[in-house]
Point group: C2
Chain length 209, copies 2
Amino acid sequence: MQLTPLTEAFILHFGEMGSRWGINRTVGQIYALLYVAERALPADEIAEILGFSRSNVSLGLKELQSWRLVRLQHLPGDRREHFSTLGDIWQIVRVLAEERRRREIDPTLSVLRELIMETPGSEADRYAQTRLREMHDLIELIMRWSEDVQKLDTADLVQLLKLGGRVVALLELKNRLPLIGRARAQREAPPVADPQSGPADMHEQELET
Amino acid sequence: MQLTPLTEAFILHFGEMGSRWGINRTVGQIYALLYVAERALPADEIAEILGFSRSNVSLGLKELQSWRLVRLQHLPGDRREHFSTLGDIWQIVRVLAEERRRREIDPTLSVLRELIMETPGSEADRYAQTRLREMHDLIELIMRWSEDVQKLDTADLVQLLKLGGRVVALLELKNRLPLIGRARAQREAPPVADPQSGPADMHEQELET
DNA sequence: TTGCTATTCCAGTAATTTCTGGAATTTCAA
DNA sequence: TTGAAATTCCAGAAATTACTGGAATAGCAA
């Protein structure tokens, strides 16, 4: 396999972006190459295409495997291991989100929890703890949300994303539903504040925002 | 100001986490310190507390200012500049999301767009372009969504997040609404696939998932 | 303007991270 | 079990990034 100017441009950009995140350039480039490759590639071929040493590629692939972002497969008649990315891009997003939660968010949340539990040694500590609690609660809220929507099937998820902020119109609507609907919703999500609930009838403009 | 064990633990952890992202440890620690500090701090005090050189702190503060994550203020009777973080944590999230979009996502999207526009030089290019298009469309969808919900006021946003995946129940509901509601929703969001629309009546279990 | 204080810039140094080649290990077919 | 091929590990080299002290600049009160 040979790099075309097009694939090369993508690989270089992706490597740069990777290095702005935690990922190093090599790993980013390897991933980018596999992402646009039509077939699974063996490590020595990756090394040759990208001009890295064989062992560097091995390291990078191990890293990507630990993130569950590349799969290993054996092709008949070839003893070498071949690597490829996940085919379904939504699956990639789900895996990435899960791994980031597991590696970065969860440890942070538990550090925050521990610190919030401690007996404050001073007024400064007491203030710091309120700030840490704010941060903890916010991260937890966002993470619960992301775990939750991640379980949706892709079609629903896409519909939800496309709806964007207009979804609050539906929330308004929900608050106006007959009691049977509201009772269920509240039983399932007790913490949701539900300050004013209007009448059950509905006018067109009330669907706005 | 003196670091207590509690604030020190937080600052150290935050610094480590920062260095897993693009942010370097120093910058992460400065931000963490300001985040838990009850009052705005001048640069020399930050340097003393964290044990960094004065110029390093200056660099870090400049970086944080460029992210709009710290504010500068002058206190009466003191010529030094004092720095503090944003008080409203939701505001912090909004600013962070905006800056990440501006610095990392937008440039990536435009690279992807350019590459997708190019005339493919080979079959491999053609395949690569379909993959790049998938990536482009996915990132754009998620970014549009995030821009959009970012405009919501905080109470609505929190309600939305707490609802999590159960929001699809509302989507189902929407699809069952009398025509006046559906017509509006479709006019506002034409690309949203809306395959089956049921009758306008509603049974309790149809609110599930 | 002058003098004082605060801030930023810069070049050199230190620390960290990345990368390499070769040695050791593993895997698998015969 | 053996040997050939593939993979991983590791210690040192290279490259990158972070940090420092001091010099230059800017800001402000007198």
